[in-house]
Symmetry: C2
Subunit: 146 residues, 2 copies
DNA sequence: TTATATTAGTTTACACATCAACTAGTTTTA
DNA sequence: TAAAACTAGTTGATGTGTAAACTAATATAA
């Protein structure tokens, strides 16, 4: 059955690409004692100071339960603080501490070089085509959600 | 920095596509009380009877430690058996039990329909282009491994 | 042949992810 | 305004993934 073959091939490639990228980032971030999710939390909170748990979860593509746990750990490590939202006392605003900001700046500076090096392995035109099709597939998948 | 933007966009799309596909498969398989990894183990052992842990791990794109744990659970559920390899007593041959085979057949039959339905949402030509570029990216990532 | 290195699989400790049930505020609505 | 429905975040149970240290069998090599 042709569809299944194409599906498996695609799924295999995508999983493999995703894991490769993930592993390389993991490797890069381990120098700073950071995991991918923690670094992304630093990034998102830096770019959206005052963000709440639910919006952060959406950016991270994970559940709020997961976010709660990781943010708690980062709080006790002194990288983040939260302040209750006075307008809605169920929710919190998240901010980087000075330590969190410093760490973010430090990692981000090297991260740019890391990404540039990684990207230099690829043909830019092909990547643009790939990005375009990826976005289209993403949209179809979102709208065909079971 | 342009490269970082393209990188993030690509990484985001790929992760999102991967998660969507994963979640849909998860949903589909939950009817049969199977997780994705378990179903893939059934599939690979069915297609490669007598396979050992390391080769199976390679097909699953995961570590052998992870394979050990999941295979053990599936053994105690009566879906798999292993027999020591008489030619190399460190290793085992894996086989589906009759129950494992029956379950695989049952799920696989429905799985084909599920994949065909999913694939019908997409333009075939685009998917072929996408598969081709994916394979190229995969190769570059494999060879540029840190 | 004995010592050394390698290999298959296991185990431990950890990070991260889910779902579903829960608490406590907020909003809706009757 | 009091009851009902909803929402933000938390928690507990579970599954899946890793890396690294381990055991036991096999292969290499002195």
């Amino acid at each position: 059955m042709v569809n299944v073959d194409l599906y498996r091939k695609l799924y295999g490639s995508i999983k493999s690409i995703f894991l490769h990228i993930d592993n390389q980032e993991k490797e890069f971030l381990s120098k700073f004692d950071l995991t991918i999710t923690r670094f992304y939390i630093l990034t998102h909170v830096n770019n959206n100071p005052g963000i709440n748990y639910i919006d952060l979860s959406e950016l991270l593509l994970c559940t709020k339960g997961n976010t709660t746990r990781i943010v708690s750990a980062m709080q006790s490590e002194g990288l983040l603080v939260r302040r209750i939202n006075p307008g809605d006392r169920r929710s919190y605003h998240l901010y980087l501490t000075e330590r969190g900001e410093d760490l973010f700046e430090e990692v981000h500076a090297e991260y740019l070089g890391y990404i540039n090096e990684l990207m230099s392995n690829f043909n830019e035109e092909k990547l643009n085509t790939y990005a375009k099709i990826s976005t289209q597939i993403e949209k179809v998948l979102e709208s065909s959600q079971i």
